[in-house]
C-alpha cells in the first residue's frame, strides 16, 4: 500500500515536472534553422527545416513542429528564387496570449500535423542526419499548407484577418 502511494506520488510529480519542462521549452522555442527551398505550389511553402530529438523519429517530428512554428511566429526567410514570408501571427505576444491554444495545437499528434507534409525521400539521410550530444539533429524537406494554416488560425481567432483592420 505504501509502495503504491509512493509510486503514484512519484508519477504525479514526474508528470508535473514534464509539463513544466514542456511549458518552459515552449516559450523559448526559437532555436532552429529553416530555409526556403523554392516557391511552393499555390498555397504552400516549401522549406528545409532542422529538428533535434533523442531519436531520429523524435527529431523528425520536432522538425515538422519547427516548420509550422516558423510559419506562425517567425516567418520564412527568402532565397535566390523565393521572397521571404512574414509570420501569420506577427504580434510577439500572441504565444503568451493564446498559450493554452498552442499547447493543444502543438501537442504530440496535435492539429499542427494537418498542415505539414514531409517531402524528404525516405528517412532523413546523409549529412541531414547528424548524431549530436544527447540525440540526433535532422534536416528534412517539408511542404507547409500555409494558406490553410492561416485560415485555421484566423477562424480560431488567433490570427487577425487582413480585413479586420477595415
Amino acid at each position: 500500500m505504501i509502495a503504491l502511494t509512493l509510486l503514484m506520488t512519484f508519477s504525479a510529480v514526474s508528470a508535473n515536472a514534464q509539463s513544466k519542462d514542456r511549458r518552459k521549452s515552449f516559450k523559448s522555442w526559437d532555436n532552429y534553422e529553416i530555409t526556403t527551398e523554392k516557391v511552393g505550389v499555390d498555397g504552400t511553402k516549401f522549406v528545409k527545416v532542422w529538428g533535434f530529438g533523442k531519436t531520429v523519429d523524435a527529431a523528425t517530428m520536432a522538425a515538422k513542429e519547427n516548420a509550422v512554428h516558423a510559419c506562425i511566429f517567425r516567418g520564412l526567410p527568402g532565397c535566390a528564387t523565393a521572397m521571404s514570408t512574414p509570420p501569420i501571427c506577427p504580434n510577439p505576444n500572441t504565444l503568451e496570449t493564446h498559450e493554452d491554444y498552442f499547447q493543444t495545437f502543438f501537442a504530440p499528434g496535435g492539429p499542427y500535423l494537418a498542415y505539414v507534409s514531409m517531402t524528404t525521400d525516405g528517412v532523413p539521410s546523409g549529412t541531414d542526419r547528424r548524431k549530436v550530444k544527447g540525440g540526433y539533429k535532422v534536416g528534412i524537406y517539408v511542404q507547409v499548407m500555409y494558406d490553410n494554416l492561416k485560415r485555421k488560425l484566423e477562424a480560431d481567432g488567433v490570427a487577425r484577418k487582413l480585413s479586420s483592420g477595415f
Partner: protein
C-alpha cells in the same frame, strides 16, 4: 641565431597539428554525387604505334556512370620517344596547346558552325541525373518537374578529359613462336576550370540569340574563340599489361587506368544514402555502373561541440543485386541491394555509402602442415560473386613451397586452382568449403630435357577442405584451413615417386591444416 631557429621550430611544431586539424575538418565525405562527363584523348609520340594508340583510345567505352563529350580533338602530341615515360608538365604543355574547355562547351551545347548553341544535351543530362529527391522537390515547388533539366547546367563543371599515353611498348616471341606484346600506360585526368560565375559569363558573352544583330553575333563568336578557360590537372594513374596483340594490351591498360582514377578523383566516386535495411538498399544501379561485388564504405555523421560536421567510417559493404535504373527518375527508383562485410555497428538507414574500389583479390600468406609436408603457402582468391545473404564465390590460386624438405637443388612446389563458396555466419566470420586441383612438383635433374619431364616430376593432388576467415581489422583477416589431400600413387609421375621416397616426410594422402593472414586489395 639559435633563438630564431628555436622559434621557427616551435612555430612549425605548433602549426603542423593545426594544419592537420584543418585538413580533418575538410575531409567530410558527403552523399552529394552527380554524373560526370569524360572525353578520352590519346597522347601521340610521332611513331608507328600512334595509329594503334589513337584507335584504341577512341574506341574505348567508359562505364555507364559517365556521360561522353564528343570532342573534335582526340589526340595531342608529345615530342618524346616512346621508350621514355612522359611527365605531367609535358602533358600539361600538350593539353594547353588545344582549347579543350572550348571544345567541351561546344560539344555540350551542340555549337554549330555559325556559333549557334542549344541546351538540349544539358537538359537531357539534368533530367537523367535527377535523383528521386530532386523529382519530389520539383513536384513540391511551383516550377514543377520541367525544371529538372536545369540541373544539367551544374553538370557542365563536372567535365573531364583523360589523356592516355602508352610507353615502353615491347614485342616478345617465345620459343614456340607465340608473340606477346607488353606496354606501360599512364592516364592524366584534367577537369574543366569552370565555376558558376564563369559559366554565367559564358552564357552572357557567347550565347547567340536569333534576334541578335549580325555585329553582336560576330562579337559573340569572337568572344567564344577567345574564351580562356583552363583545364586543371586533377589526378594521374599508371598501369601495364601484356597480351597477344598490342590492341588487347592497350585496352586492358585503359580499363585499369580508369579504375585507378576512380579512386583518386573523389567526384567520380559514387555516393548515396542507405534507404532500407534487411537487406541494405540504396538507390543506385546500372546508371552508376554498379556491378555485383563492388565495394562501398559506409559513413555516419556527427557534429563536434563546435558544430563542425564529421563523417565517421562505419564499415564496408558489397553490392549484391543490381537494379536496372538506366532511365529518367520518376521518384520511385528501384534500389540495389548490398551485404555488409565489416564494421562493428550494423549499417543503418540514412547513412551514406561511398564507392571504395578494390581489386576483389585476397592474398593469403601462411604455413601449411600435414601429409603434404610443411610448406609456406601463398593463396590468391578472386571474389566472383556475392549474394543477398552473404554467400560469396571465389576462384582460388594456391602455391606452396615445402621448406622442410627443400634444399638448393630441390624445392617441392605445390600449385593448385580451385573454387570456394563462402558462407557468412556473421559479417565477421566466413566459413568457405573449397576444392582445389593441384600439381605437386618435385624438380631435381636439370640434365633431363625431355618434353614430359615436368609431368613425370609431378603428381595430381585433389584438395577438398574448409576455410574459415575471421575479420581482425578489415581488410585484414585471420585464416585457418583444414583439408584432406588426396595424393594417390597411381597418378604420380615416375620421377615424382622416386624423389618423394627421398624426402624425410614423403608427400602422401592425408589431413592438412593451414594458418595465415589474408589481406584484400
Amino acid at each position: 641565431m639559435i633563438k630564431k631557429i628555436f622559434i621557427s621550430a616551435l612555430s612549425l611544431f605548433l602549426l603542423i597539428p593545426a594544419a592537420t586539424g584543418q585538413e580533418k575538418i575538410k575531409e567530410v565525405v558527403t552523399s552529394d554525387y552527380n554524373r560526370n562527363s569524360i572525353s578520352m584523348v590519346a597522347l601521340l609520340r610521332g611513331d608507328s604505334y600512334d595509329s594503334q594508340a589513337a584507335s584504341v583510345v577512341k574506341s574505348y567505352k567508359p562505364s555507364e556512370k559517365f556521360d561522353i563529350n564528343d570532342l573534335k580533338t582526340k589526340t595531342v602530341k608529345a615530342y618524346k620517344t616512346r621508350s621514355e615515360s612522359v611527365y605531367q608538365t609535358e602533358v600539361n604543355e600538350a593539353v594547353g596547346k588545344v582549347g579543350f574547355a572550348r571544345e567541351i562547351l561546344a560539344s555540350i551545347f551542340n555549337r554549330d558552325s555559325n556559333g549557334m548553341m542549344d541546351d538540349k544535351t544539358v537538359r537531357y543530362r539534368g533530367n537523367y541525373d535527377a535523383k528521386d529527391q530532386d523529382v519530389i522537390n520539383a513536384r513540391a515547388a511551383r516550377v514543377g518537374t520541367d525544371a529538372l533539366g536545369d540541373l544539367g547546367h551544374a553538370l557542365v563543371s563536372g567535365s573531364y578529359i583523360v589523356v592516355t599515353d602508352f610507353s615502353k611498348i615491347e614485342r616478345d616471341t617465345d620459343q614456340r613462336g607465340n608473340v606477346h606484346w607488353s606496354t606501360n600506360a599512364k592516364a592524366f585526368a584534367y577537369k574543366i576550370g569552370l565555376d558558376s560565375d564563369s559559366l554565367n559569363d559564358f552564357y552572357e558573352k557567347c550565347w547567340i540569340y536569333d534576334d541578335d544583330s549580325d555585329a553582336v553575333k560576330q562579337a559573340k563568336r569572337v568572344a567564344f574563340q577567345n574564351l580562356d578557360i583552363p583545364m586543371i590537372p586533377v589526378a594521374e594513374a599508371s598501369s601495364s599489361s601484356s597480351a597477344s596483340t598490342l590492341e588487347e594490351a592497350m585496352h586492358s591498360c585503359i580499363s585499369d587506368l580508369i579504375f585507378n582514377l576512380e579512386s583518386r578523383i573523389p567526384a567520380w566516386e559514387v555516393a548515396v544514402t542507405i534507404i532500407g535495411k534487411r537487406p541494405l538498399r540504396a538507390k543506385i544501379g546500372t546508371k552508376e555502373g554498379l556491378r555485383n561485388g563492388d565495394r562501398y564504405r559506409a559513413y555516419s555523421y556527427t557534429e563536434d561541440r563546435n558544430g563542425n560536421l564529421r563523417s565517421v567510417p562505419r564499415g564496408f559493404l558489397r553490392a549484391t543485386e543490381i537494379s536496372s535504373n538506366s532511365g529518367m527518375s520518376i521518384g520511385e527508383t528501384d534500389p540495389s541491394k548490398f551485404y555488409q562485410i565489416s564494421g562493428l555497428s550494423n549499417i543503418d538507414e540514412g547513412w551514406t555509402i561511398k564507392q571504395s574500389n578494390d581489386s576483389r583479390i585476397g592474398a593469403i600468406a601462411g604455413l601449411k602442415v600435414g601429409s603434404m609436408g610443411t610448406s609456406i603457402a601463398v593463396d590468391l582468391d578472386y571474389l566472383a560473386n556475392v549474394s543477398n545473404v552473404g554467400t560469396m564465390s571465389y576462384a582460388i590460386l594456391s602455391l606452396g613451397f615445402d621448406v622442410a624438405d627443400g634444399n638448393s637443388n630441390y624445392l617441392p612446389i605445390y600449385f593448385g586452382i580451385g573454387f570456394a563458396y563462402g558462407l557468412h555466419l556473421t559479417r565477421f566470420i566466413e566459413i568457405a568449403p573449397y576444392a582445389l586441383v593441384a600439381l605437386d612438383h618435385m624438380g631435381y635433374s636439370m640434365a633431363d630435357k625431355s618434353d614430359d619431364r615436368f609431368l613425370r616430376e609431378s603428381a595430381l593432388v585433389l584438395e577438398p577442405g574448409v576455410r574459415a576467415a575471421i575479420n581482425v581489422a578489415y581488410p585484414l583477416q585471420v585464416i585457418a584451413k583444414v583439408c584432406y589431400d588426396v595424393n594417390p600413387e597411381f597418378i604420380q609421375g615416375s620421377l615424382y615417386k622416386m624423389y618423394n621416397q627421398n624426402l624425410s616426410h614423403p608427400h602422401k594422402s592425408g589431413l592438412g591444416a593451414q594458418f595465415g593472414l589474408k589481406w584484400t586489395f
